[in-house]
């Protein structure tokens, strides 16, 4: 008890000393006037590499987002769950929530629970692979996707998810940089996934971006015309463009968007044109 009291008094005294340091800093403008070399030294002492800060530009700050060095990100599905056992369904719903919150370690634990309850449930394995990618284990993630293709070869939805995952793994391995990726190969994987399950809005968006990156302009225009009828496509495309724009090594998404027809660019920018213009520009690129 006495020891605890002494510790408490010590902590309060240290806090008071900190407060004194803060007052000195404020009144004598020490943070502003101390030599920059000394500031950098102090930062290193505090465990911060000054270069980490200095790499942030004013433009990045003002754009409202900084570039992430981690290439991986996730699109969380909101597809209806219909035939799943109730316990598994509950876990998948929790997993989706955690994924949207970027709480990947917790999501991983929930996924492991789902797999232990239903070892032959493809969605749980698919989520497990996605989480491996997100947590940096790209080889393991890709390996699980490849196994998914074999294990569930008679389930088109599962195979489509596996193909999409394989394409993602390849993109992440190349840090989303088209110069590091075989864009045509990636496009083919997304394309095959879409052939098996045309409801995959996210796959559609990824295919479109990679089709543009591979220089297949006519094909990309055809895909846009086809995709505009699919629910969730615009949302998925907007998500993909935003995530890729926020990544350090990703393709210059601005250039990708320039290939899109005017009506789609207006729509994505939030300045949607009137209906008549929407219709008339939709075929005039």
């Amino acid at each position: 008890m006495v020891k605890n009291r002494a510790q408490e008094i010590r902590q309060l005294a240290i806090s008071e000393l900190e407060q004194l340091a803060i007052s000195l800093d404020r009144e004598f403008e020490i943070t502003s006037t101390m030599p920059i070399e000394e500031i950098e030294h102090e930062l290193r002492e505090m465990g911060v590499d000054p270069r980490r800060l200095q790499s942030l530009s004013l433009d990045q700050m003002l754009s409202g987002k900084r570039l992430s060095k981690n290439a991986a990100y996730v699109y969380v599905s909101d597809e209806l769950l219909q035939d799943e056992p109730i316990k598994v369904k509950e876990l998948i719903l929790q997993l989706r929530y955690l994924g949207r919150q970027h709480r990947y370690e917790e999501a991983m634990r929930v996924t492991e629970q789902a797999i232990s309850i239903a070892p032959n449930y493809w969605r749980a394995k698919n989520s497990y692979a996605s989480l491996c990618l997100l947590m940096g284990d790209l080889d393991k993630g890709e390996e699980i996707y490849l196994r998914l293709l074999e294990e569930f070869s008679d389930n088109p939805k599962a195979v489509a998810a596996g193909l999409h995952g394989c394409a993602c793994a390849k993109e992440f391995k190349g840090k989303l940089n088209p110069e590091e990726i075989n864009v045509l190969e990636v496009s083919r994987l997304y394309e095959q996934a879409l052939e098996l399950d045309d409801s995959r809005a996210n796959t559609r968006a990824c295919l479109l971006i990679n089709t543009v990156l591979s220089g297949e302009v006519n094909k990309s225009r055809k895909l846009i015309e086809e995709s505009r009828q699919y629910e969730g496509f615009f949302e998925a495309l907007s998500f993909e463009l935003a995530e890729r724009t926020a990544r350090e090594y990703a393709a210059n998404i601005y250039k990708v968007v320039q290939v899109f027809p005017i009506w789609l660019r207006n729509l994505l920018d939030g300045s949607g044109p009137e209906l008549s213009r929407f219709e008339s520009t939709s075929i005039a690129y």
């Binding site: 902590q11 000195l24 000054p50 700050m61």
Partner: protein, 180 residues
Amino acid sequence: MKTSTSSIKTTLDSLSDEEWREIITRMGYFYMSRYGWDRRLEMEDVIQATILAAYSRTMPEGMDLVTFLCWTVMRSHTSHILKRMNKCRIDPIEECSESELITKKDLHKYDQVCAELRDLIGDDDPLLRILVEYRIRDPDAKLCDMLSSLTPPIPKHEVVNAYRRLKTLIIKLKRKSDNG
């Protein structure tokens, strides 16, 4: 960097790369000195939010840019964020005057904290000792006014050196405290 203009936007936009790097490094230092211990915050997020909040604001003429960004914008923004997070005080006795301490808690505890403060500083550093005594006597008073009233007045570089010694002492005490 003292500004002659009141527009933060104009000032920030006109900075050279080297000046920008210096500003952001100083902001990082301020953040780490004041909030570095708080795991609820991310340094880059706080700095970015500060820049975004400051960009549309004006600043009193002649005020130092870093002082304005750190002491006015970052402090206000972070205090707001922390309050919203869980209505928690930033520092245990931050901005809590002596009289508040006495009326809020027990006088005995206050005396113990003062004794501990004197003990931690010791007698070997007269200037730090004076600063601590000023702090104990009147936590709301301006230290610069108190120091300039001394004969002879304490030069600024002496105060800055005392600040460095104080920071070293705090780090030492915290390390000791963390190691039990």
